[in-house]
Subunit: 163 residues, 2 copies
DNA sequence: CGACATAGTGAAGGTGCATCACGATGAGCG
DNA sequence: CGCTCATCGTGATGCACCTTCACTATGTCG
């Protein structure tokens, strides 16, 4: 019983290691596409919602509208999205994918699936199920503990060199 | 069999959600202590290694020496650490905790243990063991896939309001 | 002593983020 | 219609993190 704390801390360490590793891999593979985390996140939301106003994106990414201006500026400059006038509201602008942006985002999605396959494909079914239950459990405890779990949907990519 | 891809993607989604939630919680509780992620990370390394030169910290955090200068500047200004001359190498400076810095870091460590306890304390032993094996498995696959897993030790805190 | 490596920092620049102020536009109401 | 008020996007400013390059002060080796 007195050894539990150590085991628990070790477990948390394992999870945090996963956090670091995945974040790092994500950032790296994104950079290879000429993207940063924040810009990719924007692309990801745009992918989920279709052409959106900057206001909508600001709410989705939970950042200030001003910041969206900057991110969109950069994505326009690098050819991932375009800014177009909103058809009915002349105050707003609609952000849409360029062909390139759509292609890269689609590739990101494919990479994510591929990455998931690599991680779990040859894992025994029972272990997989068990891992899932454990993760759900942890997530539930997190929520129960009052941690703010409304941090938007799943993040974009982590494709490594899978693509 | 054809439903596997969906399950796998969902599993990855669960993990990524965990990533986001934990990172967010970590950042928040750190901010409450007057710290940022980067500065807390430095404090954490200092805690593991004892008084260190900036060079050592730069290698530990895997950032440029120039960046360490900035982080240490900030931590000195906010009273977490001090810069002292290296006893034998007059080029180098030794970064050490102030009393306050040591106290906050110790509290971070306590919070981490407490947090681990909250997450895993009343989890059935078999499920816990199972989760651990699953995580190890994923980490191993990550490494096998060529993802760079030398991203330093476990990160600092995530204490939420546990402290 | 001279050549070379190393520790830390100034300068300059890119990115992500925030707040405040402001112009342009939309929308409700008298 | 015209006034008021809310909303969209952006300029200005500022902070934090991170990088590379240049440079000084030292240490080290031959």
């Amino acid at each position: 019983m007195s050894d539990s704390p150590r085991k628990h801390t070790e477990a948390l360490g394992r999870i945090l290691e996963l956090v670091v590793v995945l974040s790092d891999d994500m950032t790296t593979s994104l950079a290879a596409q000429g993207l940063t985390d924040a810009r990719a996140h924007l692309l990801w939301e745009l992918h989920q919602r279709g052409p959106s106003t900057q206001r909508v994106l600001a709410d989705a990414l939970r950042v200030s509208p001003r910041n969206i201006t900057g991110l969109v500026d950069a994505l326009v400059a690098t050819g991932f999205v375009t800014r177009e006038p909103h058809p009915t509201d002349r105050r707003a602008t609609l952000v849409s994918f360029t062909e390139h942006g759509a292609a890269v985002t689609a590739a990101m999605e494919r990479d994510q699936h591929e990455f998931a396959r690599i991680l779990f494909a040859d894992m025994p079914d029972d272990r997989f199920a068990c891992l899932m239950e454990g993760l759900d459990d942890v997530l539930a405890r997190l929520r129960a503990h009052g941690v703010s779990v409304e941090t938007a949907r799943t993040s974009p990519d982590p494709g490594s060199e899978a693509g």
